[in-house]
Subunit: 193 residues, 2 copies
């Protein structure tokens, strides 16, 4: 029952930027403390000019060892990865690395909350997909299954994230209903059934 | 200060590197999931040579907006900053920024655990200092008090971190006794008294 406006595609903002903006809103309204981790960069050469800041002259982007975002909500450790695709029917696994997925699995094992935020740009829909249904498909690729997550599967096992003006990707709303409603949450019900 | 030599054990490892090594040990032994955040770097110019990786040609170190390390231990969100000094009697507040301290305060308010790991290289001692006693001194600098944390104060309000071969900065041991012993922990007793 969540609806998303078609406007924000026109803002030229990527999903990541919209989540960063949403996190700022969460921070100033004191709802949550969640930050984007900096992109890891391997610095090879640095110049130290007199009287001014060090200039990095040669450096390379590194593979992130964990995820895009982490932080704290209602006393819980939160850890997630954001992915968007132009594809209509599936999210390809390219750009998702097994060590990231293993990290997210470990987070859940240690009592944290871990999930993907997945945007289908063509559908103008953004979903929160918990790590467990993700892993069920992820692990099958190693048995020769397809290397992507079907749109239909995400729709079935994920949760549509509402859009509001202050919080363009208002994922805390989903966390509230999925993880924080007193033990009888949707996610644990799904796991049991 | 990106270049730091260290006397410690003549291993040539800085405090930060030792914590990174300790975290790896915690990770492989499945004790905790705690990572160093990448250093934030503002990229200005990138070359995209054919058939090889993008080369960053101009970039600058940015002020970190949060802390060095965060992660998950026993279901709790953990967030901390590491500082070492050659000074014998105090840790100067230079290189600690108010927005970092405010971040750490917010972490505690949202139910996380936040602290400093402080090494006095001359004493060969490393302490865990919870954010609350830190803030009591931090805030007084704005009333004209000194801009440093006294060694004696840290000794009194902090906890010596043990050194083991596998975990050179074995701070989980301190977390266990200070935050995780069933509600009657040292830290909450200290707050009450
Ligand atoms: Mg991403
Ligand atoms: Mg530091």
């Amino acid at each position: 029952s969540y609806k998303q406006s078609t406007q924000f595609g026109k803002r030229g903002m990527t999903l990541e930027k919209e989540i960063i903006e949403t996190n700022k809103y969460y921070l100033v309204t004191d709802l949550a403390v969640i930050h984007k981790k900096p992109t890891p960069i391997q610095v090879v050469q640095v110049d130290y000019p007199k009287r001014s800041a060090a200039v990095i002259k040669e450096a390379y982007y590194q593979q992130p060892s964990t995820t895009d975002f982490n932080g704290l909500y209602k006393g819980k450790y939160i850890d997630f990865e954001a992915k968007q695709t132009n594809n209509k029917t599936s999210l390809p696994f390219s750009n998702i690395h097994d060590h990231q997925v293993q990290h997210m699995k470990k987070v859940e094992e240690h009592g944290g909350i871990s999930f993907f935020i997945i945007r289908f740009k063509q559908h103008n829909e953004t979903f929160l997909l918990p790590i467990r249904p993700f892993i069920q498909v992820w692990e099958k690729q190693f048995e020769g299954n397809r290397k992507s997550l079907q749109y239909q599967y995400i729709k079935e096992h994920g949760y549509l994230i509402p859009f509001t003006l202050q919080a363009k990707v208002d994922y805390l709303k989903v966390l509230d209903s999925v993880y924080f409603n007193g033990g009888d949450n949707n996610e644990s019900r799904r796991q049991k059934s």
